[in-house]
């Protein structure tokens, strides 16, 4: 064929070549059963029999199977995210790309759940006779507002938190840490760039602020040695599909004066019990999402004992933001009992009584608190 003629047919060859090669690759490439980016099982090859074929179930499932296993899936998902970003749709996957490689989940919206949750906590505090402390962690986008992209939804965290606090009543000591977090965010990295959680530094600043209201003496920064772990890609990263964003570092703060074997973490999920020496679960650092290195992520009930501390028992009712701060609080309380109401289905007031607790701390991120339907289980 003459070159000119070949050139004329080239777009058709490109098209046919693409769809044929894509199909062949699809058949040839091995199929993953799990997507670590999405943290979900991928579709399995559907069952083929007369029933599923004539009802159309087979065909429908085959569609899903094919979509879940296309060649170079991450490349294409990333390309789409890049294209959307380049054509003006920053935040199309629910995550904004800000300056300095920061990824911000979109802001929390006002919900009735938030106000109801204040009411549940108020009634809970009235039902027990130990001090109840509450703090709400604002979102990364709110604390880092100077890094947000030009066009973004408003982060009204301050307004929402203050409306929530008004509903708590006089028995709850509300500790406003939002101001501290905003002030310190200007100087230090208090939130991960690729994850919605706060960093160890963020938790430490909050720990200091809590000390003032809860009456303990925070361990000074100079007594910690900081171990840095690289290569952390958080959930905001996975959601955004903006693969060019560089990974975060995770800091593990170790108290240099802590005696060996002083700290035990005991995790209870139903009848399963596992124990660990120290706050950090290093096997979790092998995963892409390394945040569960802190007290092994979400569990129903976790007991943290620090025999270096003489006494003090604190019940912590929380979401995953607490996992970073509990190692600090553990410097001041011999026993911490951490309950997650999403999994723990018994009364918290029973724990308070049976453990003879000195106080209860409720620690939630605003986003989670606005949607969490489990606080009615407090008592």
């Amino acid at each position: 064929m003459r070159p000119a003629k070949l050139l004329k047919y080239l777009p058709a060859f490109i098209f046919c070549g693409f769809i044929f090669v894509f199909m062949i690759l699809w058949f040839a490439l091995p199929k993953e059963s799990y997507s670590s980016q999405e943290k979900r099982m991928l579709a399995e090859f559907p069952e083929l029999n007369a029933g599923t074929l004539f009802s159309g179930d087979f065909q429908k499932s085959l569609d899903e199977y094919m979509s879940d296993h296309i060649p170079a899936r991450n490349f294409f998902v990333g390309l789409n995210a890049d294209f959307e970003l380049a054509s003006g749709r920053n935040g199309s996957n629910g995550i904004y790309l800000g300056s300095d490689g920061y990824l911000f989940p979109k802001p929390a919206v006002r919900t009735d759940q938030l106000i109801n949750n204040a009411q549940y906590i108020k009634e809970f505090a009235e039902s027990i006779d130990v001090p109840v402390y509450m703090t709400v962690i604002p979102s990364s986008g709110y604390a880092n507002s100077s890094k947000l992209p030009l066009i973004h939804e408003d982060y009204t965290d301050a307004e929402l938190i203050s409306d929530f606090a008004k509903g708590l009543g006089s028995r709850v000591t509300f500790i406003d840490t939002a101001d501290v977090l905003i002030r310190e965010s200007a100087l230090k990295q208090l939130y991960y760039r690729t994850d919605h959680h706060w960093t160890s530094r963020g938790a430490y600043e909050c720990y200091k602020a809590l000390g003032k209201k809860m009456g303990f003496e925070p361990v000074p920064e100079s007594e910690f040695s900081v171990e840095t772990v690289t290569g952390f890609y958080g959930t905001s990263y996975s959601k955004s599909a903006l693969w060019f964003v560089s990974p975060d570092k995770i800091e593990l703060w170790h108290n240099t004066r802590q005696s060996k074997d002083a700290v035990t973490v005991e995790i209870k999920d139903g009848s399963d019990i596992k124990t660990n020496n120290g706050y950090f679960f290093r096997e979790r650092l092998e995963e892409d999402d390394k945040y569960p290195v802190f007290v092994d992520g979400n569990h129903s009930l976790v007991r943290i004992t620090n025999t270096d501390v003489e006494d003090g028992t604190l019940v912590v009712v929380k979401d995953s933001y607490a996992h970073t701060i509990v190692p600090f609080l553990s410097q001041n309380y011999r026993n911490i009992i951490m309950a997650d109401l999403r999994y723990y289905k018994k009364d918290i007031s029973d724990i308070v009584r049976s453990e003879n607790a000195d106080g209860v701390l409720l620690l939630y991120s605003l986003d989670n608190l606005s949607n969490d339907p489990y606080l009615s289980n407090l008592f």
């Binding site: 777009p11 490109i14 894509f22 999405e38 294409f76 054509s87 749709r89 939804e153 949607n371």
Partner: protein, 408 residues
Amino acid sequence: MVFSSFIFLFMFLPITLFLYYITPRRFRNLTLFVVDLVFYSWGEPMLVLLMLTSVLINYVSAILIGINREKKALARTVFVISIILNLGLLGFFKYVGFIGETLNFVLPFLDLPVLEVSLPIGISFYTFQTMSYTLFLIGLSKKVLIANEMGALWDAVRESGSQSGALGAWVGITAYTFQIYFDFSGYSDMAIGLGRMFGFEFMKNFDYPYISKSITEFWRRWHISLGTWFREYVYIPLGGNRKGLGRQIINIGVVWFLTGLWHGASWNFVLWGVYFGIILVIEKSFMLKLLKKAPAVVSHLYSLILIVFGWVLFYFENMSDMGVFIARLFGADGFMMHGSIVSCITGYIPLLIAAALVSTPLFSFIYHKIKSRAVTAVIDNAGSIAALLLCTASLASSAYNPFLYFKF
């Protein structure tokens, strides 16, 4: 099976092309017939029997009519029977639920059971018309890169409710205006492109409808195959404009009532059809002359506003939702938008501008001005590669569902 899916693009189409080209020439249509049955049966396997029945009826009727040309009465009888059977199938599958609901509404004491019949894919098109790679790709890009995104914007505007204000509501219905055009014309382009791949020529179905200077012109440029069909098989047989003005107006009314009803079995479609029927009668009686004299800006604006407003009637099947939205368009919830919809709409501005430009012949005009073969070759090939990659990326992304413990 839809054209813009992985299973079609990267499985069905390559296999079909392969089978088609290894089949000896004279059996190629048989190959197409078989793969078509697979295509149609993909979503609703059992309903393909209905289609086969219909094909058989028409095939046999056509032969019977052909060999009985001399015996007028017999030929006519076969013809009438085949029409009744065809319309019966269409009527049953597409409109039986609608008729039942309407009768129950008007005459509640009847209390008819409303039949829920699932509509076989493509039956409307199919009854009307047992009806090249670049064209296919252009169509695919229109559907995936523009229509789907405009649909997402329109959804966001409706979900924002009164926060959108009049301004946001107009942006929203404009997005829907683009969605419906790029969806439909994209699909037509893909069908025409696929047809050509296998040696079938279909007529152009859309001719830049949004650049029209009157509604009369709009309907010559929008869904051309449908307009042609109604003109030839309904309007002209009813007498068209040959039996006086009164009769012509009635004929127009009938055509537009049916056009509306064809689009969907719900009263808002009838309303939409009648809306255009009335506008067309007004244009025929005096408006067209005025529009010709008016500056181009005026006639374009006149047409666009009526078209865009028409899509409001087309979209809302629920009359009270429609009322709320129309009130919003005219300021019932204030003019400005506020809340999260502001940043959402702002993000879509580049795409809205792109959609507006692609709705005009501008790019086609520029492309055909280019004299250099080399330049057009670069555009063709780079464009094909970009379209393939971006469409695949968009489809891949819609199946990417991070199930993250995001809240935790």
